[in-house]
């Protein structure tokens, strides 16, 4: 089920306001099939709001979006069978065991009984929890919870995966193996859309959107971003993503500054 032109996620002027506050302001982008696309920006930039709109958890105030070729406004139910979503909270039932969590989400996703067993075993193996099938989730470490949450989110093998700050609160080793997993999913044709505020993590993405104050300020591969933007630094030193980001953000703040003063 691929959208024409191999576009998995497409947003056009997507906007979300909360009262007077514009959390996401006319954001437009396309994510290609099988791509690892990252939304990079500080906290409060509108990353989570965007991902929540694309998952159907939040209605957009204006603009359009299609996910897996389905209109977010009119075909939300079709969208939901084709996406997986994991939030930074690794939302699992802590008082249930590993197995019970998997069984529950498998049941809610109505995985055909023929596939159920296989998917369950896959999720347990992937999360490295073969010896802890009957352990309550509350007793698991952050890294294990993260992988189990991911497993539960993709039991139904969705072609598109949304990850909201997926590596927050986990140690570097867990983070590393988590990325291996994401690459293998992406290699298998799964589109991955994730948000992060870690610069090093952003480097792993195929393509990045830099967001600040609800606006998409730049887009491209990490290489393109670093090459394409003139960064005022000593010559001969290659700019990092952080340099690119900071210079963009400072530019925006300078532009917004006088306005803020007039308002104040």
């Amino acid at each position: 089920m691929t959208a024409p032109g191999g576009i998995s996620v497409s947003a056009r002027d997507l906007t979300r306001r909360f009262g007077d506050f514009v959390a996401v302001n006319r954001v437009t982008f396309d994510v290609r099939r099988g791509e690892v696309f990252g939304f990079l920006g500080p906290n409060g930039a509108g990353k989570s709001t965007t991902i929540r709109m694309l998952c159907g958890l939040l209605a957009p105030t204006a603009g359009e979006a299609t996910v897996a070729g389905f209109d977010l406004r009119t075909q939300a139910e079709s969208v939901k069978t084709r996406i997986g979503y994991m939030s930074q909270r690794f939302s699992l039932y802590e008082d249930l065991t590993v197995e019970e969590n998997i069984d529950f989400f498998g049941g809610i996703y109505r995985i055909p009984s023929g596939r159920k067993r296989e998917r369950k075993e896959w999720a347990i193996r992937m999360a490295g929890l073969s010896d802890h099938v009957r352990t309550r989730v509350a007793h698991l470490s952050g890294g294990w919870k993260q992988r189990l949450a991911l497993g539960c989110a993709i039991l139904h093998e969705p072609p598109i995966l949304f990850l909201d700050e997926p590596t927050s609160g986990t140690d570097p080793i867990s983070r590393r193996s988590f990325w291996d997993l994401i690459y293998s999913l992406s290699g298998g044709g799964t589109t991955v859309f994730l948000t992060t505020h870690h610069m090093d993590e952003a480097e792993y993405c195929d393509r990045l959107g830099l967001v600040y104050r609800g606006e998409l300020v730049a887009m491209g591969s990490p290489r393109e971003l670093k090459d394409g933007f003139p960064v005022e630094r000593a010559e001969g030193i290659a700019p990092t993503l952080e340099d690119v980001f900071v210079s963009l953000v400072e530019g925006m703040d300078r532009a917004a500054g006088p306005v803020a003063e007039v308002r104040g």
């Binding site: 998952c55 159907g56 958890l57 939040l58 209605a59 139910e77 939901k80 069978t81 996406i83 997986g84 979503y85 939030s87 909270r89 939302s91 699992l92 039932y93 802590e94 008082d95 249930l96 019970e100 069984d103 529950f104 989400f105 049941g107 809610i108 996703y109 109505r110 539960c152 989110a153």
Partner: protein
């Protein structure tokens, strides 16, 4: 649809039964409540603490007073000639009743005049006071009837005929006017309401708090499936509570059960739908479990007070009476008393059942609407 709801049910019950604390809450307080209402809460007054101030000290005065204490309703705590001491005992709460007979009581009776007995009760507890006064009136009336007979023997007069009106009183449905039979069916209603409203609102709010609500909402589950999956388990728990309390009431406290079990279950189902709807509504206005709990008590107190359980609805001002029509508890109490004590059926109880159905549909519809809105 059925498949998803089944998985929700399994999950809710796993969570419920894994939570030892919650299990205790489901079983102990209902038992405690039924014991309290079965044993401790009674409006029948026995052993009212009584001080006697008998200044006459004659056979007649002693005869009258002894009738009070042999009735079982009064218990002598002190006899004194000092009226101030009696007052002091009442101030301290050691006595609830003062029986005062002035000097010259027997003399008055002998000379065919009226003898005076002063009964003073502690009015701070108006309910007990009025019950005690009614006992006193009855005992005194019996005594004075006896005195009149004696007088007629001593001074025969033409037979005046029998008293013009005599009372033949009988209490139907509760022959001995046991107050626990009035209370026990009501306890079923309270426990079921408390448990189902609490479980429903807490379960939804908890999922919101830990983020699993969001996780479920990105799945293709429909709001109807989610709401059913979230309420059905607690409806079943509610039925379990009804069985528990009713069984203890009938087997332990000899609470009569004269109606139809089927009618009890159908009506309870209707009542449960209102409780579940209210639980869901509370979950839509609460972001944390504490908020849900507080909101629940905000609902619970007026619901109990305006149900007719403790205070008769007919005694309430018209505005409050109007409010009671919106209170599901009001109807369910009538049904419970009807089924347990009166043994009446649908022919009598259909208006209450219809009202519950209406309220149930309305609260569930509003709750579902609001619930969908909070999701978007």
């Amino acid at each position: 649809m059925v498949e998803r709801i089944r998985h929700m049910l399994v999950k809710e019950f796993l969570q419920l039964f894994r939570d030892r604390h919650m299990l205790r809450i489901l079983i102990l307080p209902p038992l405690l409540q039924i014991l309290v209402f079965g044993y401790a809460v009674t409006t029948n007054v026995r052993n009212a603490t009584t001080v006697v101030v008998d200044l006459d000290r004659t056979a007649s005065s002693r005869d009258l007073l002894s009738r009070f204490f042999s009735s079982g309703h009064f218990r002598l705590v002190r006899e004194t000639a000092d009226f101030r001491e009696a007052g002091e005992l009442m101030n301290r709460g050691d006595a609830g009743v003062i029986l005062h007979i002035a000097h010259g009581f027997e003399g008055a009776l002998r000379s065919n005049r009226t003898g005076d007995l002063q009964v003073i009760v502690d009015g701070t507890d108006s309910n007990t006071a009025s019950i005690v006064l009614s006992y006193a009136a009855r005992i005194t009336a019996e005594y004075s009837g006896g005195v009149r007979l004696l007088r007629m023997e001593r001074h025969p007069v033409p037979f005046p005929g029998p008293p013009s009106v005599s009372i033949a009183s009988r209490a139907w449905f509760n022959e001995n006017l046991e107050s626990r039979f009035t209370f026990l069916p009501g306890i079923i209603a309270f426990i079921v309401m408390l448990v189902t409203v609490m479980l429903t609102s807490m379960a939804v709010v908890r999922e919101r708090e830990i983020g699993t609500l969001e996780q479920i909402l990105v799945t293709p589950i429909t709001p109807a499936e989610y709401i059913l999956g979230k309420t059905l388990p607690f409806a079943l728990v509610g039925f379990g509570e009804i069985l528990l309390v009713a069984t203890v009431g009938v087997l332990w406290f000899d609470l009569p059960f004269r109606g139809s079990l089927l009618l009890l279950f159908i009506s309870s189902g209707l009542f449960l739908s209102t409780a579940l709807g209210i639980g869901l509504l509370i979950s839509t206005v609460s972001r944390t479990q504490q908020q849900a709990l507080l909101t629940m008590f905000l609902y619970f107190m007026p619901a109990v007070l305006l149900s007719g359980f403790l205070f008769p609805i007919a005694n309430m001002p018209p505005a409050a009476q109007g409010l009671t029509y919106l209170n599901p508890l009001r109807y369910y109490l009538v049904i419970l008393r009807g089924v347990f004590l009166k043994g009446v059926g649908v022919r009598v109880l259909w208006p209450q059942m219809a009202a519950l159905l209406l309220l149930g549909v309305a609260t569930l519809a509003v709750a579902t609407r609001r619930f969908r809105k909070t999701l978007a």
